[in-house]
């Protein structure tokens, strides 16, 4: 058994054996902290377009907050590591572009279509959820590459071929900004639902020991599928909104493996399995990433690689995870 599982189980034991009132109290504090975090996020991003000069920075901050948060749904809460996570992002971008440009539908409808496309692809590849460990990660990566190739084989009248799609007619950065804001709020709400409801308890039980969870009556397949669908819908929406914001879609940037990599790294840097983990990780690392990008553009990838290695070797549980380990008394208060 891994340390993590051990700890989680100990944590659960404590809360189970403690009097009912204590669990409720710690849940209340947890919920309160999470409420404050969400309120701070709303307070920062909601009024920003009125006076912020650098809208793009905040837009992409929200983008990575959403990506890392939804990545956490499968990686932190269900224990899967989909290395081809970018597939959903790319499919969402292309669904939006094709529906808007080729079929002439309005942007909101195109974005809804992107969410549906993400869910449909998620359901199509759901059988791979029975693969374990790195098998799942590798097959997921292969699926993402297959998706990219499949789109590149589609007729260029639909997908724009190697030139991609230009959506300049839809240009409206502020509207796209608020669309991303709504998607972020949606992801935070889904995270709250997944982690604080009975579903969250079931998910964690499956992650730690799926057989044991099944024995105590958890419907393993259905529970996983709920988390999976949430985790596939949000990146598709993010990809769609980003396409709207930049007005450009092409295969290489829509299916860039770095999208997966950053989602993973940001989520892990904060701490997988905690709601606040991806928030803290994405805000800290995206800020650092932007500084690097501004000052050493050619060294960007090199430094990103070094950060990933250092993070995994020195802080494998992430910031929040390390905190929870060091101050285990407070663990049950961390959302």
């Amino acid at each position: 058994m891994t340390d993590q599982a051990q700890e989680t189980r100990e944590g659960t034991d404590v809360s189970l054996s403690a009097p009912q009132g204590s669990t409720e109290k710690s849940n209340h504090i947890k919920f309160l902290i999470w409420g404050i975090v969400v309120a701070v996020i709303v307070a920062i991003f909601l009024p920003a377009p009125l006076f912020a000069s650098n809208l793009s920075f905040l837009f992409y901050m929200m983008l990575w907050l959403t990506m890392a948060t939804s990545f956490n749904f499968v990686a932190g809460m269900a224990g899967y590591m989909p290395f081809g996570y970018v597939a959903f992002y790319g499919v969402g971008a292309y669904a939006t572009g094709v529906l808007y440009k080729t079929f002439g539908l309005p942007i909101p409808v195109a974005l809804a279509g992107a969410a549906v496309a993400g869910i449909v692809i998620g359901l199509l590849v759901a059988p791979t959820l029975r693969l374990k460990g790195v098998y799942f990660g590798i097959v997921s990566l292969a699926l993402a590459m297959a998706m990219k190739l499949a789109i590149s084989l589609m007729p260029s009248e639909i997908t724009g071929g190697s030139l991609g799609l230009i959506l300049s007619a839809a240009n409206n950065p502020v509207a796209a900004y608020y669309a991303m804001f709504i998607v972020l709020l949606g992801a935070l709400a889904a995270g709250t639902w997944l982690s604080m409801s009975r579903l969250g308890t079931a998910l964690r039980a499956i992650r730690d020991d799926s057989e044991a969870a099944e024995v105590v009556g958890v419907n393993v397949v259905a529970t996983r599928l709920k988390a999976w669908i949430m985790a596939t819908m949000f990146p598709a929406l993010v990809g769609g909104v980003e396409a709207w914001y930049t007005n450009a879609i092409d295969l290489d940037s829509s299916f860039n493996l770095l999208v997966t990599a950053k989602s993973i790294v940001y989520a892990m840097a904060g701490g997988l399995g905690f709601l606040v983990g991806p928030i803290i990780g994405a805000s800290a690392l995206y800020g650092i990433d932007q500084l690097i990008w501004r000052h050493f553009p050619t060294l960007n990838l090199l430094i990103l690689g070094v950060v990933i290695i250092a993070l995994m070797l020195l802080l494998p549980r992430g910031i929040v995870g390390a905190f929870a380990q060091r101050f285990s008394r407070f663990r049950r208060f961390i959302p």
Binding site: V134, A142, L149, S152, M312
Partner: protein
């Protein structure tokens, strides 16, 4: 049409053996260390550059560069084990942690190669006296034949090492049961470091073969080889060295015959479809043991 198909099959075997070699070295590393070497493709490309510069600076032909690259990459792997891999065992999810660390390493190596060698694709200046042989209507470039021969010899030597020598048997024993082998007195650390060295040494050699058989290489193609390696080992079964040979040849044949009838893109797509089909029918790969983990 038949000749085309035959040509595709022959190409498939040549390319498939190279893919097999990529898979075998990935699988040796994964089997023994539980490390998913995401940076494998970058090491392969680095090996190709090694051959290029051995030729440009030392005047060494790629064949003579083989042992040199093997030793240099082996030493590098031995050292890297202690820097990167050893600490991973302490992580709570070593396999995923290794995947991410190696992904970070692949970014670092790719960026370093881009800085050092710049973005343009290079190719090895290497020709043999009769540039190609004809078998009926099948054309076989001699460099490809030579690459094929080297790949066969290397795979054979590796199989001999794994199945007939004591260190090789110890190595396979780690794959089978990590705990038991410590009881019988094997120095796990030393052997693990050797394994990582062996894996990277093989990756370096593969790089030379790649530079002989494929037209060109650049700092950007590392990830493609990593991906091919992943497909091959999942096809054959993770951690199963000989399974990777079967997986590699299968994938090479599928890709190259598809290339004859369709385009390169379709060929790649077919490879992925093959992978997904195999995985859904036999989740542990063609040669994997079903309930090993």
């Amino acid at each position: 049409m038949n000749e085309l198909l035959l040509q595709g099959l022959v190409n498939g075997i040549v390319v498939g053996l190279i893919y097999a070699l990529i898979g075998v070295s990935l699988n040796v590393i994964f089997g023994v260390l539980r490390v998913v070497n995401f940076a494998h493709g970058e090491f392969i490309v680095l090996g190709a550059y090694g051959a290029y510069f051995a030729q440009a600076w030392l005047g060494l032909s790629p064949l003579l560069a083989l042992p040199l690259i093997f030793i240099v990459f082996g030493l590098m792997g031995y050292g890297l084990y202690f820097v990167l891999v050893k600490r991973l065992a302490r992580s709570n999810d070593p396999e995923h942690a290794s995947l991410l660390v190696m992904f970070g390493l692949s970014l670092v190596l790719g960026a370093l190669m881009l800085l050092a060698f710049e973005a343009d694709a290079r190719s090895l200046n290497f020709t043999l006296d009769p540039p190609f042989l004809m078998f009926g209507n099948i054309i076989l470039p001699t460099t490809k034949l030579l690459g094929l021969a080297v790949a066969v010899v290397v795979t054979g030597a590796l199989a001999f090492f794994l199945y007939r020598t004591l260190p090789g048997k110890a190595l396979r024993a780690i794959i089978m049961n990590r705990d038991a082998i410590q009881i019988v007195g094997v120095d796990l650390n030393h052997l693990s470091a050797l394994t990582f060295g062996l894996g990277l040494g093989l990756a370096g050699i593969t790089g030379i073969l790649v530079s002989m058989i494929f037209p060109s290489f650049s700092p950007f193609i590392g990830q493609d080889y990593t991906l091919i390696g992943f497909i091959v080992i999942v096809l054959g079964g993770l951690g199963h060295p000989i399974g990777a040979v079967a997986g590699g040849i299968l994938f090479g044949l599928a890709e190259q015959t598809a290339m004859v009838f369709f385009s390169g893109t379709v060929a790649m797509l077919l490879g992925f479809v093959l992978l997904i089909a195999v995985i859904l029918i036999r989740p542990a790969g063609l040669f994997g043991v079903q309930n090993s983990r």
